[in-house]
């Protein structure tokens, strides 16, 4: 989750009344922010990725003022008609087809604000732009360039400019191959013959979207007027990014001016900061929240969330949504806004009237019986991961490599597959506990996973039980006693033990467990080579049994 640090002094200034860090921490959660840390003069909050408008002081202050009723209702954003034109070249269509722009003048920036704008830009790149894939933003010092601008493409070797952070100019190809941002984002354009480029009247480069801006238009604390471009293949994402960013600049005191974006077949005036509208049926909201609320009160609540609202017909409100609120998809989102405006803390919890009868899952029932018996036999329960690796599962057990469920993207070599048996992890547990007192008796009753081609998910989980007993006198006899006792106490009738061979056990000291004609498990004395492989210094009696057949057997 993204995080923003709100400084008490700046925040107070934007809110328009003095606030302590404690007061901020007390009230910020009620607009949906998660307080991470409260400092002497700052509060660090986490915000949801769908509320990118919370990534700046102004954005949070805007919402906060509503909650505190210092300023309610829809924030108004005026866009003055500007005369800057962005010409869109036809060739861009195949690489990164859309561009929108805006001009903001009269800004009073400082180091902190510039830094915050960059962070906001990154949050938008990630949250809305999906890591610049759908949209990316460029902010430029307007006075360093001369309009009109052109959004076009260029031959990777024909154009050179100085990218942000570099002292020398380089070709587009070089930038893609060597610049930090080029390396990070080149996959977005390097498949194209010509790369996207934003240039001014004199062919000076503003940026190479979505990779990097030119050093020429770098924004500094002295910058007063900026030009913003947002490019991308997803027009919806492009619009959202621009709106969130420009409204934040407007709240910083900038004057927004429109630009004309000339596509081949149409002209757009950008930005469009007019609110959108969604209808909210009050009955729907009342039913969902379980709250009897009047029309007038509902309007007040929405206003506190900085939404405009007016009754249009019986029980229906027309809600105006400011351009920066890109998270409203459905009427239901307004129901939540209404609840936030009402105050979650004022919602009285109640209990549903319907009575239901709870029931355990049959597998849990069986597993709990097994657990009870194993504990009664003096065993201590272990809980291991179902994620494991081939070394533990096969090699150390002297077993042949199987065909387990394998991960496509393991996070480490420790986890590369799903366990098919419980015993390997139990032996690992014994190996990890060689310094603890003996006897050590461990069991696990939990799931193993297997490929099952007929299943919808091509796999199945089965409950197993396994136990190990390690100490100087552990032997086959003990394993046999435990298995007998377990099966008898589970009330299983037709079970048999038959001699068998198994690479993990000592020949002549290993047997299979059968229920009816079905082989369900194995018991025996663990092979000394296996003990060596794990580094266990004591003999180990062990068993493992599939419990799934018992589920059927019980029914």
């Amino acid at each position: 989750m993204p995080v923003v640090t709100l400084h008490q002094e700046r925040f107070s200034e934007l809110v328009g009344r003095p606030l302590t860090a404690e007061e901020m921490a007390k009230w910020l959660p009620w607009i949906g922010l998660d307080v991470e840390e409260v400092g002497r003069d700052y509060v660090r909050v986490e915000y949801s990725p769908n509320r990118v408008d919370f990534s700046s002081h102004v954005g949070v202050a805007r919402a906060f003022k509503g909650l505190m009723e210092l300023e309610v209702g829809l924030p108004q954003y005026e866009v003055k008609e500007g005369d800057i034109v962005v010409n869109v070249d036809e060739s861009i269509g195949e690489v990164r087809p859309y561009i929108l722009g805006a001009v903001v003048k009269g800004l009073k920036l400082d180091e902190d604000v510039v830094k915050e704008l960059m962070e906001m830009q990154e949050d938008l790149h990630w949250g809305v732009g999906r890591n610049r894939k759908k949209a990316s933003i460029g902010v430029h010092d307007l006075n360093a360039v001369e309009p009109p601008f052109a959004y076009t493409t260029a031959d990777p070797d024909a154009v050179k400019f100085v990218p942000l952070g570099w002292a020398k100019e380089a070709s587009l190809r070089e930038i893609l191959a060597k610049h930090e941002k080029g390396l990070a984002f080149r996959h977005l354009i390097n498949w194209a013959l010509r790369y996207p480029l934003l240039i001014d009247k004199r062919n000076e480069v503003l940026s190479m979207p979505p990779i990097v801006n030119g050093e020429l238009t770098r924004v500094s604390p002295r910058t007063k007027d900026v030009f913003i471009d947002v490019t991308g293949p997803d027009f919806n994402a492009v619009t959202k990014c621009l709106n969130v960013f420009v409204t934040a600049l407007a709240d910083l005191g900038g004057v927004v001016e429109s630009v004309v974006v000339k596509y081949v077949h149409q002209e757009l005036i950008s930005p469009d900061l007019r609110p959108s509208t969604v209808r909210l049926r009050l009955d729907y909201a009342r039913r969902l929240l379980g709250l009897r609320i009047t029309e007038r009160k509902a309007v007040e609540c929405l206003n506190r969330c900085r939404l405009g609202a007016k009754a249009i017909e019986g029980g229906v409100l027309e809600v105006s949504i400011p351009a920066y609120r890109i998270d409203i998809l459905h009427e239901v989102d307004l129901v939540e806004e209404l609840a936030i405006g009402y105050g979650y803390y004022r919602l009285k919890p109640k209990m549903p009237a319907t009575i239901t009868v709870g029931e355990q899952h049959p597998t849990s029932k069986l597993v709990n019986f097994v657990r009870q018996i194993m504990i009664g036999l003096g065993f201590t329960e272990a809980m291991n991961f179902t994620l494991t690796n081939e070394a533990i599962h096969y090699a150390k057990m002297r077993g042949a490599r199987g065909k387990p469920i394998r991960l496509a993207n393991p996070v480490s070599s420790e986890y590369s597959m799903m366990r098919e048996e419980l015993l390997p992890s139990l032996l690992k547990n014994l190996a990890d506990n060689v310094h603890e007192s003996y006897p050590q008796r461990l069991f696990e009753v939990s799931d193993v996973l297997r490929i099952e081609p007929k299943a919808e998910t091509r796999s199945e989980r089965r409950p197993h039980v396994a136990g190990v007993s390690a100490y100087a006198n552990a032997s086959y006899t003990e394993a046999r006693c435990i298995v007998d006792s377990l099966l008898n106490n589970l009330g299983v009738k037709r079970w048999k033990i038959k001699a068998t061979r198994h690479p993990s056990f000592i020949p002549g000291r290993v047997a299979s467990i059968y229920i009816g004609r079905k082989k369900v498990g194995v018991l025996g004395e663990v092979h000394p080579e296996v003990l060596n492989n794990f580094g266990i210094g004591n003999p180990v009696a062990a068993f493992e049994m599939d419990l799934e057949p018992l589920m059927k057997f019980k029914r």
Binding site: R287, M351, L377, L387, A408, V411, E456
Partner: protein
Amino acid sequence: MPHLSVNERKTLLALRRLGGRASVSDVAATSGLIDAAVMRATLSLTSKGLVRVHERGMNVVSITDEGLSYAKEGLPERRLLNSLLKLGGEARPEEAAKHARLNEGLLQIALGWLLKKGWANLYRPELRHPYHVLSTSREQPLGEDERLLSLLSEKGPLTVESLSEGLRKAVEVLRRRGIVNVKRKVERELELTEEGWRLVRRGIRLIEEVSQLTPELIATGRWRDVKLKRFDVLAPGPALHPGRAHPLQRIIQEIREVFLEMGFTEVRGPLVETAFWNFDALFQPQDHPAREMQDTFYLAEPSVGELMDVERVKRVAKVHEDGWITGSSGWRYSWDFEEAKRLVLRTHTTATTIRYLAEHKKPPIRVFSIDRVYRNEKVDYKHLAEFHQIEGIIMDKGVTFRDLLGVMKEFHRKLGLRKVLFRPTYFPYTEPSAQAMAYLEKKRAWLELCGMGVFRPEVLAPLDVKHPVLAWGAGLERLAMLKLGVEDVRLLYKNDLRWVRGTPVCLW
């Protein structure tokens, strides 16, 4: 009364019977103990001031090996005399010796003592008679020396000082003949002190002391006659490790009980899940960051699953693309069927509850699950790649967000968390959503345990669920760490026996 062992008691009682003063051997004989046991008891009785020890030097006479054979067959002179009498009172010495089966050496000894004791005469009947004749007229009574010999062979060594004067003289005679030995010896005599007398007069019960009560003692009733030894009840015993459930399992069971008591039915679903049920059915757009490789485990083998109900899949696709009939704007992208077929390790148990909802449409429904989920995370003290999620849902006619808050309040109360607040938050598939904050008295801190919300219409409509669905979820490990006082989440799955054995079974 000081604590007395059985042997000490026996020693005191024997001394009393022997008149208050007696030798160690007498005490041993009377008490039935061996000498060494009496000496050990005496040692501690002396230290308790109950017995005084007197040491006395004396001579002890005992029989030699030669003497032993004389004791059996008689002294040689007695044997010679007896033979002589049988031969008529007169015979040649050689003849008598032959009759007595004495060899030449013994004959000389026998002859010497026979004559010395005056039991017979030796003479030549005539001056020129060729040999001497031995002659006696009567039997002789046993001498003191012979009495001493039989006494010693009967009773063993005796103190010279305890013998009559006649016997004392015989000791000297026999000693010179090499038939007895006399040795100097220190004898210890035990005597009851004043204190000892007081004690024995008060009476001492003689009881055997036993450490282990045996089946035999119980069966025979002999336990009444013995004293069960007192143990050092403060001494610690060796450590004992009972069989037990894993601490985390204890917590799982506790929460299961809460759900069951609240009328919830347990559900269990696949751990390997299609992206469809894990993400798409929950209105998570296919380009959502959570679906990327660095957050979700995808499978190499098997890699794709099956999407069962094609119509349902199409409805989900529509909702993603343009909101279908829900009135939602949708995510406005082109939904990919293949992407939805990919198999993942489920990232939340909601994949299972949503499956359940798709198959069970009749209200009311209350189900829960506490089960494994997976995230492709780097494992550290705060994060695991595999952990447990707690989840509950309610589907019913007319249930509201306030009902959700009520159920959550009760759920927390049952877990011992009485002070709960709900604040707004965001989850991709619920609206409205809330985060519960529970106050922990012990830590004086707020804990964020459960996230909750009402399922979005975009989730419910394609599955044809007609009534509101209230849902909440929480991480089990977070709660477990608090309850168990664990700082590093990895410890929960290390199965470190020191920790497992050291964690109380009963958690409050």
